[in-house]
Amino acid sequence: MDTMTQLLRFITAGSVDDGKSTLIGRLLHDSKSIFEDQFSAISKTSEKRGMAAVDLSLLTDGLQAEREQGITIDVAYRYFATPKRKFIIGDTPGHEQYTRNMVTAASTANLVVILIDARRGVLVQTRRHTYLASLVGVPHIVLAVNKMDMVDYSQARFDEIVTEYKKFAAQLDLHDITCIPLSALVGDMVVDRGESLDWYQGPTLMEKLESVEIDHDVNTTDFRYPVQWVCRPQTDEYHDFRGFMGRIEAGEISVGDEITVLPSGRTSKVKEIVTYDGNLQTAYAPQSVTLTLTDEIDISRGDMFVKADYLPTVAKEFGAMMCWFSETPLDKNRKYLVKHTTRTAKCLFSSVDYRVDVNTLEQHANPAVNMNDIVRVAMKVQQPLAFDHYTRNRASGSFIVIDEASNNTVAAGMIV
């Protein structure tokens, strides 16, 4: 009972040249997660293309255009399991839309594996991947120094890379970095330890993935409960039942706790925590539950329940770091929609302060905002939002921007 399987979501960042596909293939292969019919299908395709070895990247290329052109268009999700954990890998392609795809995949990830070619060391793209991981607040970073077989498994080379990387990473908001020397091709330190890296005492990549502590990846203290749906059965049995359905995005709640409803500021007490499997005394993030209250107060979708001991900010103006996704540049004269937790409101951009060069971290003032740009903006919304700083609370600090004309998702933002 104490070995319940947890779910870990992670992404891999790196280019084909770094051996990313080989690494994913190695993880799947050595954990026996590639099926025979999948393997035979990609073997056939590899052969057709005249390749000497089986191209494991074909496993994730799901679309016809990708297979035809040998490119990867979009984020693909892959699933595998070991006796200790279930894993979801977000596989992001490394072409020009990289920023958009990596930000998307990283938004739900517990961990990112940043791949480095041991011969080439810390590159511009390593900095870019690391910056994006810190921007999106991925809680755990693994620096996988790959192709150690190509540098004679040199500890000195590994140490040199780690020192340089940590110096760079110190500028960013990163808390948990694990550096692992490995060879995806040979299989050293991926699932098995191999025999060539005796000087390394740390975990293999798989051991790290299986053991990294993720219970604290959600904020466990500040109760945040955006109301998704008001349940009113209006049947004889549940004549007066009025339940507020939602997911606990952070913290915990117990029967009898006093809550504050935002933005109205009214207070009440939790009467019941209702679930299909019976009522609970206490519930925690990220459970989906139904709360009933002791008082009849006006509550609807988009409101947020919190506890008075740590209140979010309730305001119509805030600053944010934002990643622009749309091919159409941001138009400051237009109104957009912002969806934040369960609330959608009209918004406009009062200023675009600077753009961050994701390769150098340099800031450029008063920029135009094009696809894949990371910008610092100031925003105004039509209705007040109850929000937190993104680094304190991912769920109540994040939002998407929707273009009302096209209905497309044009940006994602993190409140600062």
Partner: protein, 334 residues
């Protein structure tokens, strides 16, 4: 997955926190007693799916839940119960019937809908054939390719702006690339190169009139998760998922069930074999696997050690081309 261990889990994995639970003020600095209520992967997947279904109910004007009587859609029903009880579902169940279904599945479909007291809408490919919108030369051939037509007609008939389906990303390569909220244009088409970015758990549900969203609340579940959940929730599923003796013929490497639609050709021999179905679809193109697994635990054990994917083993129509599913989805399939 061959080494996957199945532990005995408590029926409810959320246990109350120990008495005197220490309150902490600063997030992230101290470690709190979390082990008592660690979420299992099934709890995490379940909560995600419930959240998705509630977003659909709250944001879409006229949603529906596609329900076939197969195991994935039976899991979807339980998730809908968890999402909306004690109220009724805020959407009807819809089945697009090929009339090539296994009778056990249809019986299960009707029983479940009746037991739940929910509204079930059935629209049949036969209706579209009568209307002349589906023209089939050989009525006994697999009908999955035509399901899209009847589905789109049903969407138009009821004005559904969102259809929830039980597709999973681990089933198929094209599905692995599809969003949870998958936008379809007014022709029901999926444009894989032009998908909306999907971040955190903030879903963009907006469509213009006539457009449609397909929603896949169990996108992140695997075949194994489904079976573990069926076991944990003690869900009633059609009997043909369990091992049974069946008349089959062997054709092109597949075991094919004999039925009124599939009869042996000259030279083919009927055998009686112990089989079970891993998926239940069109009778003419759904192959069972040889198995003696007669309960959920035994199926989980087999699933953990199988070396063939679910669709690879059982769906003849997906083997015709690397892109069969993608092409069907582009035409409006779910």
């Amino acid at each position: 997955m061959s080494e996957l261990l199945i532990e005995d889990r408590p029926a409810k994995s959320i246990v109350p926190a120990p008495a005197g639970n220490v309150k902490q003020k600063e997030f992230g600095n101290e470690r709190k007693l979390m082990t008592a209520h660690t979420f299992t992967h099934l709890d995490a997947l379940e909560s995600e799916s419930i959240h998705i279904m509630r977003e659909v109910a709250a944001e879409c004007k006229n949603p529906a839940l596609l329900f076939s009587g197969g195991k994935d859609s039976i899991v979807m029903l339980r998730l809908a119960e968890k999402a909306f009880r004690p109220a009724k579902f805020p959407f009807p169940l819809v089945h697009i019937d090929t009339e090539h279904n296994f009778p056990e599945v249809i019986a299960c479909r009707d029983k479940l809908a009746a037991d739940l007291g929910e509204r079930l809408i059935v629209r049949s490919l036969e209706d579209s054939i009568k209307r002349g919108t589906i023209i089939i030369k050989d009525l006994d051939k697999p009908r999955n390719p035509y399901q899209s037509v009847t589905l789109l007609e049903t969407i138009a008939e009821f004005g559904f702006d969102a259809c929830m389906g039980g597709a999973r990303r681990d089933e198929e390569k094209a599905r692995a690339k599809e969003r949870i909220f998958s936008f379809r244009d007014e022709f029901g088409q999926w444009d894989p190169k032009n998908q909306r970015p999907e971040l955190w758990d903030i879903y963009n549900t907006r469509v213009h009139n006539g457009e449609n969203i397909r929603v896949f609340p169990i996108s992140n579940w695997t075949e194994m998760d489904i079976w573990e959940y069926i076991g944990r929730e003690k869900l009633h599923i059609p009997s043909i998922y369990f091992a049974h003796e069946r008349e089959v013929i062997r054709r092109g490497g597949s075991v094919i069930p004999v039925s009124h639609l599939v009869q042996p050709k000259a030279g083919e021999k009927i055998e009686v074999v112990s089989v079970r179905f891993r998926t239940v679809g069109d009778m003419t193109c759904t192959a069972p696997v040889e198995s003696t697994a007669s309960n959920v635990d035994e199926i989980i054990e087999e699933t953990a050690t199988t070396r063939i994917t679910e669709r690879g083993a059982t769906r003849m129509d997906d083997q015709t081309s690397d892109a069969s599913m993608e092409l069907r989805k582009k035409e409006g399939y779910f």
